[in-house]
């Protein structure tokens, strides 16, 4: 032996797929998005932290949180990026702008699309609000939010 190997590789896959529950807090968060087109948060009054997406616990002091408060749908662009490629590396026909939006009056926010075509019109600190799909089309998903638009 010691000759050149003919069978150099073996191909295969991991053939499982996933179904995630949203959890106790996530269930409330996405129900409110689906049914009322708004965002809810939970607050730890000891640490003075308002969590969006909401949680049943404060990560800092471990207090149990349970009071879900409507925090509206407006926020500020904390940071953003302009994507030219899709998740699997293909070139996008037009660039997509993704932003981390801090929701007003909270310590949390969401990463989502911005409905701005021209990257030069985006800046950190700009005011935005969520735009939702029509109620009949919502399924209780992050994509029930179509994007955030400047206000």
């Amino acid at each position: 032996m010691g000759k050149e190997i003919r069978t150099k590789k073996w191909e295969g896959e991991i053939p499982v797929h996933y179904l995630y529950t949203y959890g106790l807090a996530g269930e409330k968060f996405f129900r409110e998005i689906k049914d009322r087109g708004t965002f809810v948060a939970t607050k730890c009054s000891k640490c003075n932290v308002t969590y969006v997406p909401p949680r049943i616990y404060c990560e800092r002091c471990f207090a149990e949180l349970g009071n879900y408060k409507d925090v509206g749908t407006k926020g500020t662009v904390e940071t953003y990026t302009v994507c030219h490629e899709s998740a699997d590396g293909k070139k996008l026909s037009k660039p997509e702008i993704i932003a981390a939006v801090r929701l007003d009056g909270t310590d949390g926010g969401l990463v989502h699309r911005l409905s701005v075509a021209d990257p030069s019109k985006v800046n950190i600190g700009m005011k935005v609000e969520a735009v939702f799909a029509e109620p009949a089309k919502r399924t209780g998903s992050i994509n029930d939010i179509l994007h955030f638009r400047p206000i």
């Binding site: 190997i5 150099k8 191909e11 991991i14 797929h17 529950t21």
Partner: protein, 172 residues
């Protein structure tokens, strides 16, 4: 201490998910791989394509190993010569299986799968490989039984463990 009243956990029925009383999100990742076979397994697969089982010898502990390895995990040094083994062996253990990898059941009346660990003749004692048995009534399978590989015809072999279709009992 484990106070029943304090133990949490909201169990769901599968109907809760199906009827949408609980929201869910699905994800179908495409996890595809191309693994390098490496030197040892590469030669092993080439051997299978040629209708042979090959092992490798460790000059430290004198074990003849299948599948072959470039290093001995006991002596922690490089292994030595390639050794051509027989394509016969002994059944170390077996099972009669009625389920698939995803827990789904075989259709009623379908022939069960017969996985087995077969100790290959020519390799050191206890050197088994996972494979399947065939051409045998499940009730007749015995631990210790002698079996022989049934190969695919040469033009159908690709360099895979499935170049051996199964092991079947033989007089030997």
């Amino acid at each position: 201490m484990l106070d029943n009243a304090k133990i949490k956990g909201k169990g769901l029925k599968s109907s809760d998910i199906k009827d949408g009383s609980v929201l869910t999100q699905s994800c179908n990742p495409k996890l595809q791989y191309a693994w390098d076979t490496g030197q040892a397994v590469g030669q092993y697969l080439d051997g299978l394509k040629d209708g042979k089982l090959v092992g490798k010898k460790c000059n430290g502990c004198n074990r003849i190993m299948i599948p072959p390895r470039m290093f001995c995990e006991l002596c922690f040094k490089e292994t030595g010569d390639w050794v051509e083994l027989k394509d016969t062996g002994t059944v170390n253990t077996f099972s009669i299986c009625y389920v698939n990898w995803d827990a789904s059941r075989l259709p009623p009346g379908a022939k069960p799968h017969l996985p087995a660990v077969v100790e290959i003749d020519g390799a050191s004692e206890g050197m088994g490989i996972l494979h399947v048995l065939g051409e045998v009534d499940p009730k007749e399978i015995k631990i210790g039984m002698k079996v022989k590989a049934v190969w695919k015809p040469a033009n159908e072999r690709t360099g895979a463990i499935t170049d051996i279709k199964y092991f079947k009992p033989y007089g030997g």
